[in-house]
């Protein structure tokens, strides 16, 4: 069965020189796809988690009574939301990477930064998506009626308690559709990590079609399919979550 499958694509490459699905019959190329997929998954999962945490914390700090805290959150949002993520990546890795401590390699010359390129990609992409998430959660928080908040504080809840026990659970439900969109975008933005040589799916794909120009279109198709699946799983999970958290009369 597998034999027939690989043979079919080998034959196809012979007959149509632009449609060489090399990764379906050359094990080495397949392994590159698998390893690229692994890094894309690592980046996606880590960035989704960190960016949501940044969003929740940032939205809370936005309501702080200290003007400087509010201003710095605003500054953070303006910077990360209004600049291209690709430039952020390059700047973090090359410019900020200079100031992080390094570990001297065994050869006495190489300096391994304690934050690798994968680390920088996770940090920079999380901050990028996190800036949007802060605004998304803010919109949710503002949708919670003032009277609900007052009711909570009249029951003796502190500011933090009101936020975590009353406002956030309600705000979260309102924010989910918008959050969904941003996280989908985040997963697709992980491909930009190619700029700092993170061997994710796009990096490996470009490598394959540079080594085998005949495999260019098939590899692009594979990228589409891989991201449709990846984003599909994310959206499916988010919808399930949305439904599970549904409370009658509040949001969807």
């Amino acid at each position: 069965m597998l034999e027939a499958f690989t043979e079919f694509f080998r034959q196809m490459a012979e007959e149509y020189p632009r449609w060489n699905f090399i990764f379906f019959y050359d094990e080495r190329q397949w392994n590159r796809i698998v390893s690229g997929m692994k890094y894309t998954l690592i980046l996606s999962v880590a960035c989704v988690i960190f960016s949501v945490i940044i969003g929740v914390v940032g939205a809370w700090l936005q309501g702080s009574s200290n003007a400087w805290v509010r201003r710095s959150v605003q500054g953070y949002i303006q910077f990360f939301r209004n600049t291209p993520p690709f430039v952020q990546l390059l700047f973090f890795y090359f410019a900020l990477g200079q100031f992080t401590p390094t570990i001297l390699g065994d050869d006495g010359w190489t300096e391994y930064p304690i934050i690798s390129n994968v680390g920088w990609a996770i940090i920079s992409l999380s901050f990028f998506a996190g800036a949007f998430n802060v605004e998304i959660f803010r919109s949710g928080i503002e949708a919670v009626p003032e009277s609900t908040r007052e009711a909570a504080s009249s029951l003796g809840f502190s500011r933090l308690q009101t936020y975590t026990e009353v406002v956030l659970p309600l705000a979260f439900r309102v924010s989910l559709p918008a959050l969904n969109n941003n996280l989908v975008n985040l997963v697709k933005t992980t491909t930009q990590a190619i700029g700092i040589a993170v061997p994710e799916l796009l990096y490996e794909s470009v490598g394959i079609w540079n080594d085998f120009p005949s495999a260019q279109y098939p590899t692009m198709l594979l990228l589409f399919v891989a991201f449709i699946l990846l984003v599909g799983i994310l959206v499916y999970g988010m919808h399930r979550w949305e439904r599970a958290m549904k409370i009658p009369g509040y949001g969807n």
């Binding site: 010359w109 490598g207 080594d211």
Partner: protein
């Protein structure tokens, strides 16, 4: 209705395949004729690969490959227009007709011959080597096993050295980023064309670095015409032009003009194609 659609599709498909088959059988010389009628040839060249193709202070694209393109245009009696291309789009530009041909530091590889018409003989050749800090004192390729080496996305030898020596190639999208990573000591070496590394070292910006290994995988560089015209007027003309440039030593002169380290390949080719009456 459906049946009609299927028959129609099949008819179109078979007509198309006949067209494709006949394109190889008979020479229509479409691109060549178009160039002659227009009086201008559009050539894809590199604009970021000193000294083969780069921009001078005035912004004009100059270099060894542009000189070859000029020699070609002169021989055809047409005007030359250059278009800056990249490794990742040079073949696509030619396929789409955005350029009539290209001379863009492309290694002649089997897989590429299926897509564009690479003519023989090649006009240049380069091997793979590394730029590494003198402090590390590498002696052989084996010394690199298991180490991080910076590279450039799109170079065919990334895969070759990975498979042969177990080198871990960290490939960046541009030369500048890769060389910056080497300066930042994020990798032990930068793997690239020996000729390009040679001119980098000569520039004086890399004093603590050297090119310590024996070059590997000497690979000819091929210029390309549309694949349908490789065995027609255009392809045969290019073969003849490059043959003459080898025989008359013009290529060696160009190499000297642009300050490229003399390659044994060009000298060998000049001997090989030497005019037997001129001896």
């Amino acid at each position: 209705m459906l049946k009609k659609l299927i028959t129609k599709t099949l008819a179109t498909a078979s007509a198309f395949s006949i067209m494709v088959a006949s394109a190889h059988a008979a020479c229509t010389n479409d691109v060549w004729n178009k160039v002659m009628e227009r009086g201008k040839v559009v050539v894809g060249v590199k604009a970021d690969y000193k000294p083969w193709g780069f921009r001078d202070a005035s912004g004009a694209i100059v270099g060894m490959e542009i000189d070859i393109a000029q020699a070609m245009a002169d021989a055809m009696g047409v005007e030359l227009e250059t278009v800056a291309v990249q490794s990742s789009n040079r073949m696509q530009f030619l396929e789409q007709g955005k350029t009539d041909m290209f001379i863009a530091t492309m290694s002649d590889r089997e897989d590429r011959r299926k897509i564009v018409g690479i003519t023989s003989p090649p006009y240049y050749t380069s091997g793979t080597n590394i730029m590494a800090p003198k402090a590390l004192g590498f002696k052989s390729w084996e010394d690199l096993r298991g180490k991080d080496v910076c590279g450039k996305q799109g170079a065919f030898y990334n895969q070759v050295v990975t498979n042969r020596y177990g080198v871990n190639v960290v490939a960046f999208t541009g030369n500048a980023e890769a060389k910056q990573a080497l300066r930042d000591k994020k990798c032990v070496a930068w793997v690239y064309d020996d000729s390009s590394i040679g001119s980098d070292l000569a520039s004086g910006e890399f004093d603590q670095f050297e090119m310590p290994l024996a070059s590997e995988d000497d690979n000819p560089w091929g210029l390309a015409v549309p694949i349908a015209e490789r065995d027609c007027v255009f392809g045969n003309f290019m073969s003849g032009l490059i043959f003459n440039m080898h025989q008359t030593g013009q290529l060696i002169e160009l190499e000297k003009k642009w300050g490229i380290q003399p390659t044994k390949y060009l000298v060998d080719q000049k001997d090989k194609y030497a005019d037997w009456l001129a001896k």
